[in-house]
């Protein structure tokens, strides 16, 4: 079985280009502590072009976490920023890369999002007018924004 951690890095490698990382270039090494060994993941970013490798040179940022902790982040159960403040994970070097990377982690799997409260409208059809049909304006849609598409799952639930 593939772990969420591996799926996260595979997902990242497969995208090749990530608009959320377009502002930065650099190398971030993720150190995942298994107790007896430490796994390294090197994420190299060039203005949004992403590559993932298990070996690499000198990183500009190191993100460190016990493997079990990162696994929870990769499933969306744990928030990376709170974990850093708590001391369960740590970052050294250029923090910008770490902040941008944590945005690629999924949200909590239980999150539903602000599903349209159409029931409220249905209950009072005369009071709520329907707006003109809205067209997605060619913006990034939510599913493209997350590696593990929590948003898509939530959309299915709607």
């Amino acid at each position: 079985m593939t772990s969420a951690t591996e799926a996260f890095f595979d997902g990242l490698a497969n995208r090749r280009h990530e608009p959320l990382l377009e502002k930065v270039s650099g190398c971030l090494r993720v150190d995942l502590d298994h107790g007896k060994r430490v796994d390294h993941w090197f994420i190299t970013i060039k203005e949004g072009d992403v590559s993932v490798a298990r070996e690499g040179g000198e990183p500009s940022t190191i993100f460190y976490a016990p493997a079990a902790v990162f696994e929870k982040m990769a499933t969306g159960e744990m928030n990376a920023m709170a974990a850093m403040l708590r001391g369960e994970a740590a970052t050294t070097g250029d923090l910008e890369l770490a902040v941008l990377l944590q945005r690629l982690l999924p949200g909590p799997p239980t999150s539903t999002g602000p599903c349209r409260l159409a029931h409220s409208a249905a209950a009072n059809p005369d009071l709520v007018r329907r707006g003109a049909p809205r067209i997605s304006a060619g913006y990034p849609i939510s599913t493209e924004l997350t590696v593990d598409s929590t948003a898509a799952r939530a959309a299915e639930r709607r």
């Binding site: 502002k23 460190y64 709170a82 949200g107 999150s111 409260l117 997605s136």
Partner: protein
């Protein structure tokens, strides 16, 4: 209550009494705070067992204070042979230079004791007096005292060290020394706040502007001088305005804050002391107010907020893709997810305001590069408006928190629980669509269309946004209009009912341009009428509404920031004299507050109190109050970028004879603006000419 002295640098600040002592209690929020944590809650000095009393306090800079002290209670000054100077500088933790002078003709044997302690309270705990869940420690090392707090992996330390030899114990520091006649003794004490991460690693989460261990005092002084020197110079025949302007510039410097990723760039935080952090709404609105003066703040605000922009669904944090964050915190309760501020996204206005700021920033500075670089974030923000902001599917932005435990109920700028109510006082059902949100959405679409056409080269998106904006404007002017009162409803509730109260929010609608021209007159009449305009400014809620209270936080007080945007809106619809009157009232009030406008003041009628009554709040300076005089100057001068030019079309209020703003930065390079008023001020000694009211000492031409 004893007077407190605040000094700060970035998000580290010290609140002490007038002797420089700190004795925190649930009721006394004093201490040294850093990253939303109190690192020092006790810091009390005695000399030979006596407490000290202040002779005077000298605020050297916003980050430095000097206390002149004598031993004893200070009620009756006995013939004191000793005096003590405590010079305190905040600069990553704080640094204190203690100097003892012996003015007597005999040598003095002295013992100075500093009692030291920390409760490591989270700012949220200080405000709500909550119990701590972790363990405390105090360790005496060879040359320093380490106070610690640990809860699971969470670890914070306060490290105290001295330049001269001292006896250290777990409760404090003791110096024993002798001072010769006419001699002096001096020592330096350093207090450092440290965040310890996993396995003792130091965690960097953010820092004050340009700070860091290498940042020295002279650099901070130089930086402040450069900051003030770089801003446009204001000349005016009404002196209080010059003082208010200078105070605002300095306060704005003190409010600069670099969250985690901004490197050496700074954005305005929301306010001292409780809001020294990144706030979506506050940082954006302050950046808008200061574009003609310090446009670099806007650039950082856009960049940093863009980098924290929501990317996923998270109910606890009210996060959605494309949403601009509300507030970022670093304290223990955020770390343990007892509060959602890592960051929290519960704001329905920051996202459209983000697009508005981006466009306005480009109009002033011509920095198309930034707009190009941030195209993705801007599109995601525009997408949020329809995809997530429109909760009801009715074409309006509404809000309803998903974090029902610790999330914000009202996610507009009037965020207190009772801010949004019907005329009869009842609270509307959620989701709530407040009117100004629709104005911001309209403006964001119009401005997004301009950026799409002129900078992103996407004419299809531009016309789509323009069509959506036109449709929104048409629907809004029908759906929100309160026919029998001739104003826009404060909100639509969850059932689509009009929340029919008269509020200052209608002024923001003028700023956004969503108001159809034939309705603008009625709005201006309301804004300047006796129910909303109190003589100093426009109240948040109109007199006569059931929940109106002149000292109610969002239900009757006057907010300088609110007024500055309303004045801008009045100007936009051609009400130049009205805009000048609002500016005059707020600037008059500023003089009573020594140039530093508070967050809010009471909405009593001006002729009732004759001076503005401050709302009791701990937050001062407040960023968007600090920015208000700047925006008001811009409005009075009628500054408006048009293409590569700066249009100047001044209308000054009574009481200002002339005003000039020199070296206004922008896409034109630097330009000067000159204005002449209709009256000149004959300022006689002791007589304060007030704007906005006609006094005998104002002579008409």
């Amino acid at each position: 209550m004893e007077s407190t002295v605040n000094i700060l640098d970035g998000n580290t600040f010290v609140v002490s009494d007038s002797s420089g002592d700190i004795e925190a209690s649930p009721a006394e929020p004093t201490g040294m705070f850093s990253y939303d944590t109190r690192f020092l809650s006790t810091w009390v000095m005695t000399i030979n067992g006596d407490r000290l009393s202040p002779l005077s306090i000298d605020d050297l800079h916003y980050f430095q204070t000097r206390f002149f002290l004598v031993p004893g209670p200070g009620t009756v000054y006995s013939d004191n042979k000793l005096s003590v100077v405590r010079k305190r500088t905040v600069c990553e933790g704080f640094h204190e230079v203690l100097t003892v002078f012996n003015h007597g003709d005999e040598a003095a044997e002295l013992t100075i004791h500093l009692e030291v302690g920390s409760d490591f309270a989270d700012l949220f705990e200080v405000k709500d007096s909550l119990e701590k869940k972790g363990k405390y420690s105090a360790t005496v090392e060879s040359d320093r005292l380490v106070l610690g707090y640990e809860r699971q992996t969470y670890n914070r330390q306060t490290i105290i060290s001295t330049s001269t030899k001292a006896k250290l114990d777990k409760q404090g520091i003791t110096f024993k020394f002798r001072v010769e006649p006419d001699g002096k003794w001096e020592t330096e004490i350093q207090v450092d706040a440290e965040i310890r991460g996993l396995a003792g690693r130091e965690v960097h989460v953010g820092h004050a502007w340009g700070s860091g261990r290498s940042r020295s005092m002279p650099e901070m002084v130089q930086d402040l001088e450069a900051w003030v020197g770089k801003a446009p110079r204001l000349e005016c025949d009404w002196d209080p305005l010059k003082r208010t302007y200078r105070r605002s510039l300095i306060d704005l410097a003190s409010l600069r804050f670099s969250p985690t990723i901004a490197r050496s760039r700074a954005l305005p935080s929301a306010g001292l002391p409780w809001f020294m952090t990144m706030f979506g709404r506050d940082s954006i609105l302050t950046s808008l107010q200061t574009l003609a003066f310090t446009p670099e703040l806007a650039a950082t605000t856009l960049t940093v907020l863009g980098e924290w922009q929501g990317s996923r669904l998270d109910d606890f944090r009210d996060e959605e893709p494309g949403k601009i964050p509300h507030e970022l915190r670093y304290g223990e309760m955020t770390a343990f997810e007892e509060r959602p501020h890592s960051p929290y996204f519960g704001t329905a206005d920051a996202t459209p305001l983000f697009v508005i700021l981006m466009d306005e920033y480009e109009r002033w500075t011509g920095d198309a590069k930034l707009v190009k670089r941030m195209e993705y974030e801007a599109r995601a923000a525009l997408n949020w408006i329809d995809e997530y902001g429109d909760l009801m599917g009715n074409g309006y932005i509404s809000y309803q928190r998903r974090n029902e435990d610790t999330g914000l109920e009202n996610q507009c700028w009037k965020d207190s629980w009772d801010a949004i109510s019907f005329r009869d006082g009842t609270l509307p059902k959620f989701p709530r669509a407040t009117c100004e949100l629709q104005g911001y959405a309209y403006d964001a679409k119009i401005r997004g269309a301009r950026l799409a056409r002129e900078i992103w080269n996407d004419p299809a998106l531009a016309s789509r946004l323009e069509n959506e904006a036109a449709d929104l404007k048409r629907r809004f002017n029908e759906d929100f209009w309160v026919e029998n009162g001739e104003y826009f409803a404060l909100a639509l509730d969850g059932d689509g009912r009009k929340v029919d109260t008269l509020s200052s929010n209608i002024g923001h609608l003028l700023w956004s341009g969503i108001v159809e021209p034939d309705k603008a007159n009625a709005l201006a009449r309301h804004l300047m009428g006796p129910r909303l305009f109190c003589g100093w400014g426009i109240r948040t809620l109109a007199e006569g509404e059931v929940r109106y209270n002149p000292i109610g936080y969002h239900v009757g007080t006057v907010w300088p920031f609110d007024n500055s945007f309303i004045a801008w809106g009045l100007r936009r619809y051609g009400f130049k004299d009205e805009a000048a009157r609002v500016a005059a009232g707020i600037l008059d009030a500023a003089e009573f507050f020594n140039g530093r406008l508070p967050e809010a003041f009471a909405g009593y009628r001006r002729e009732e109190t004759m001076y503005p009554v401050q709302y009791p709040t701990a937050c001062s300076p407040q960023a968007w109050s600090t920015g208000a005089p700047m925006l008001l100057v811009q409005v009075m001068l009628g500054l408006e970028p048009v293409g590569d030019h700066l249009v100047v079309e001044p209308v000054l209020p009574e009481g200002i004879g002339h005003m000039e703003l020199l070296d206004i930065p922008g896409r034109w390079g630097h330009l000067d603006a000159f204005a002449r008023g209709r009256v000149s001020v004959n300022a006689q000694a002791g007589l304060r000419p007030q704007l906005g009211v006609t006094l005998p000492q104002i002579s008409r031409h």
